[in-house]
Symmetry: C2
Subunit: 202 residues, 2 copies
DNA sequence: ATAAAAAGTGAATTACAGTTCATAAAATTG
DNA sequence: CAATTTTATGAACTGTAATTCACTTTTTAT
């Protein structure tokens, strides 16, 4: 008769899958993609290398999921801000600030997600992720322009520029970690830059 | 008695070195770092793989030189613009426009230099190169602020944001190449974005 | 011309990580 | 509890590309 997974087994498998993802995320956060070999993921997740391949077809597929789930989460946060209350300017500022603050909390992870070398499949996923981010910003831009708050501009390009701007400004200090105080000023400057870029005032 | 290289030999060696660099640059331009194996470089330059190692201690060292010499060249172009005539705003616009135009001419090369995955040594060199770019922009920013043309702002961070902004906006279309007409509009939008970001007007 | 030194060759070596697979362990069914 | 199916193991395999090195060719010096 057909083999049927018990609920307990079902759970354990799902749990293993999550543990693998968590292990991969942890390794990326600590040492970047470079440190995240399949063997290392297996070690931390408490499974064997072979077992990983029962849950993910390839290393690349695993890391694509790590990346895109993390980005999806960040996007929900940004979306909530962007689709919230207040002027377009205020919402733009809040979104950029929130992103920057969170990125500085987990600097390595942010770097890996935003800029670190990875193989082509992951790279392709990253491009889509960046687009996801810029899509969120496009929404405020459109609203701001429609409401006369922002001057006319290409929302596609402005959104890309915003993502690029705070990305670059955030990735740089990621290497030589600065103190909290400077973080405050950094975030402020980035937010101001983006506001000026979009509104043409300041 | 001590062996001494004749002038002719000297020249041939220097020539080989240049050919190796040129071959490496060509391969990167055509297919990115991925296509630029030592064997391929050897093939194009007309030397053997072993010979490459008489000129460069490692593949990474070779590509670090390819990258940094190309960037140094771009920086001299930008510097000439930035240290030239006109208002700070005009020079900033001209610099961004020039960079963007050149990047769109050799899209693959620009992508490779700006964003393509590479090994850690090359990556480290890239970080320095980006800093070189932003240093040029810092100069106009300082002048613009000193002359009251730009509002007060962190030149470090604004410069990083500028580099990040046009980088991101340029890398994106690099994949699905667009037509010349759209290039014009793209450049325009990027330049406008950067001007607004820095001047707070527009 | 011949010996010594340097430069060039390219197949063999090395290094490394992702992936597979024969085998073992565990889970499910009757 | 035997039979069967699924899941787990981890050493071996594989593919790739950088690097080396024993050997050849070329260049320089006497």
């Amino acid at each position: 008769m057909a083999y049927q997974r018990s609920a307990l087994m079902q759970e354990r498998l799902a749990d293993n899958r999550q543990r693998i993802l968590a292990a991969a995320r942890q390794l990326v956060a600590e040492g970047g993609f470079r440190a995240a070999s399949v063997t290392a993921v297996a070690g931390i997740s408490g499974l064997s290398t072979g077992a990983i391949y029962r849950y993910f077809p390839s290393k690349a597929a695993l890391f694509v999921e790590v990346l895109s789930s993390a980005v999806a989460y960040e996007c929900t946060i940004l979306s909530a801000i962007v689709d919230g209350e207040g002027s377009a300017t205020a919402r733009l500022r809040a979104a950029v600030e929130s992103f920057a603050r969170r990125a500085l909390q987990g600097p390595h992870l942010a770097y890996a997600f935003i800029a670190e070398p990875a193989d082509p499949e992951v790279e392709a996923a990253r491009i889509l992720c960046r687009r996801d981010f810029s899509d969120v910003f496009k929404r405020v831009l459109r609203q701001g322009i429609a409401g006369g708050e922002f001057p006319k501009q290409s929302v596609d390009i402005s959104a890309a520029c915003i993502v690029g701007a705070f990305t670059e400004a955030l990735v740089r200090p990621t290497e030589h970690r600065a103190k909290r105080k400077q973080d405050q000023a950094l975030i402020r400057s980035i937010v101001d830059f983006c506001e000026r870029a979009v509104t043409g005032t300041g």
